[in-house]
């Protein structure tokens, strides 16, 4: 069925307006990061790179960035291992409770954020685990597993088992088959999953704020400083850095998976 030209134009305008709606705030924050004026009035009176220098010189900003990268890397590593193991089990085997697993793995992001946050926070307090890098990594890995799992599962479903069987028939053992046959075919999907997991972890606030204790990750640094008038411009710079650190991995992951022809993950 062909839509009439009038309908097409309305749809085109609606889509354009929605894209503007999505991107104007993102562009705006980037503009503010270069704004000469300390107060975020519109329009900006002039542009400067000074705030980036101020942000680099700020030790609490540097620390927050390091904490965030560390936590993201730890959570990504855990999620990568657990998500891959789980996807192999679910795709390659038939067992009781298989459907429940795909439900269980999505639960940490399907339940409202505050629920996961309170549940983990309460568990850490009850078992006397002090808040810090470890608790952030545990919390983040929990909701990052699903990202790796989804990517690995999609790829595994499309790759035929027969090639691995051929490898075994030719005398390769399980580890060799995994290393030389299975892994190369999975690699880009796992990399995409890891990038998305890192982006998700880098960006997360709702669970992090209740499991980080006194440790400041970068988004939490924004929350601590956005009301301080003197920090305003630095907050804008940090915001741009956070945006880049979370958008770039998502973009790369998108490229990696679309090469395989699988389209968007979600």
């Amino acid at each position: 069925m062909e839509s009439s030209p009038a309908v097409r134009w309305i749809l085109r305008l609606g889509t354009g307006a929605a894209l503007l709606f999505v991107y104007v705030p993102l562009i705006l924050i980037a503009v503010y990061a270069f704004n000469v004026n300390k107060v975020p009035t519109w329009p900006p009176t002039g542009f400067t790179l000074d705030w980036f220098r101020v942000a680099v010189d700020n030790s609490s900003v540097r620390e927050a960035l390091l904490v965030r990268i560390g936590a993201g890397a730890g959570a990504t590593a855990v999620a990568l291992v657990l998500g891959t193991l789980l996807s192999f089990a679910v795709v390659r085997y038939r067992f009781f409770g298989r459907e429940t697993i795909s439900f269980l793995v999505i639960l940490p992001i399907a339940l409202p954020g505050i629920v996961t946050a309170v549940a983990l926070s309460n568990a850490f307090v009850t078992f006397g685990i002090p808040f810090g890098l470890v608790t952030i990594v545990i919390a983040h890995a929990t909701f990052c597993i699903v990202v790796v799992y989804n990517n690995a599962t999609a790829r595994l479903r499309r790759s035929a088992r027969s090639i691995e069987e051929a490898s075994m028939d030719l005398g390769a053992d399980t580890l060799q088959t995994f290393r030389y046959v299975t892994l190369p075919r999975l690699r880009s999907a796992l990399l995409a999953g890891a990038l998305l997991a890192f982006a998700l972890s880098f960006d997360e606030v709702i669970v992090t704020r209740l499991t980080a204790g006194a440790l400041k990750t970068m988004p939490l640094w924004i929350l601590d400083n956005y009301l301080r008038p003197n920090q305003g411009p630095v907050v804008n710079v940090v915001a741009v850095v956070v945006l880049l650190f979370s958008a770039l991995p998502v973009y790369l992951a998108q490229r990696l998976t679309s090469e395989g022809g699988s389209g968007p993950n979600r």
Binding site: P25, T116, V118, A119, M168, D203, P219
Partner: protein, 303 residues
């Protein structure tokens, strides 16, 4: 096995390892156990365990005098407090209404975009749109909220944009909270609807027009009913995300309480974890009910 090694000595390696691996290969249950044990230990032990512990914690009580949590006895006092205090009921209703309004707004904005992507756009434009919509999905959550705060502040971007028209922006407050929620969760609505619309076979639409239906009728009687499960699938995200958020009301609201803010304040400032746990069961209950209703529309196939 012996002849095997004779033919391919390079691959055989250490015979002990090889025997162990071939033993593993013949025991699929053992393989499965090795694959499943650590992820399940994490998800069931750490995550599900925490959820159950939170459920139990909802029956504990904060001792008002000592400020410590009394874990020895289970009591219904928290639930009683939540059900009898009008504030808690009002906040729950307000949050659910907010989630519903956000969901409606997102569906209205997302549908034309998804329809354009699935049915009108050229493959190249479609690819571009998919990336443009997916990119903000998982990036810069807090940055987006913060940027909206700057836009909404007096004399900010929105005010200066609207002042030539004699208007002003909504400022900070409940409308701003609604606007920002709608903004944040829009991609979660576009992508499922797009996937749902794309799956409708063209032959159905041709059949409808062959049978004499005009475009509008085909849309109403064929496309819309088939797209409903996808809209419901998207609404699961918009609903759940709104129920569980406490950052947005804090940054662009003016102190109006939502479920998330009450739970957060009780965990953090007030230190009343049992009450927070009990109140966190409200969004859980709402989501379980919502998921049960959603399942009846066939939305789970569209997730």
């Amino acid at each position: 096995m012996t002849s095997d090694r004779a033919v391919r000595p390079a691959l055989s390696g250490d015979s002990g390892r090889r025997r162990a691996l071939s033993g593993l290969y013949r025991r699929p249950r053992l393989q499965l156990g090795l694959l499943l044990s650590s992820p399940l230990l994490w998800l069931v032990g750490a995550y599900l365990g925490s959820l159950i512990l939170m459920f139990v914690a909802a029956f504990w009580r904060l001792d008002a005098f000592s400020g410590t949590i009394d874990r020895s006895a289970l009591t219904l006092a928290n639930f009683e407090e939540i059900l009898t205090t009008p504030v808690y009921r009002d906040v729950a209703l307000r949050t659910i209404s907010m989630a519903a309004l956000v969901t409606i707004a997102d569906a209205v904005i997302a549908f034309p975009v998804a329809y354009f992507m699935a049915r009108v756009a050229s493959p190249r434009t479609r690819g571009f749109l998919i990336v443009s919509i997916t990119l903000p999905l998982w990036s810069g959550y807090l940055v987006k909220v913060y940027s909206w705060r700057l836009m909404l502040l007096p004399n900010g971007f929105l005010d200066s944009l609207l002042s030539p028209l004699g208007l002003s922006g909504p400022g900070l407050g409940d409308v701003a909270v609604w606007l920002v929620f709608t903004y944040l969760w829009l991609p979660y609505m576009v992508l499922p609807i797009y996937a749902g619309l794309e799956q409708i076979p063209g032959s159905l639409l041709e059949a409808s027009s062959d049978l004499g239906a005009r475009a509008a009728l085909t849309f109403r009687r064929v496309i819309l009913p088939l797209a409903i499960p996808a809209v419901v699938a998207g609404s699961i995200f918009t609903f759940s995300l709104t129920l569980g958020d406490y950052i947005v009301p804090g940054l662009v609201g003016t102190g109006t309480q939502f479920i998330g803010t009450i739970v957060y304040n009780n965990v953090g400032i007030a230190g009343d974890l049992p009450l927070a746990a009990a109140y966190a069961l409200v969004p859980v209950t709402v989501m379980v009910a919502y998921l049960l209703i959603a399942r009846r529309t066939g939305a789970f196939e569209s997730l």
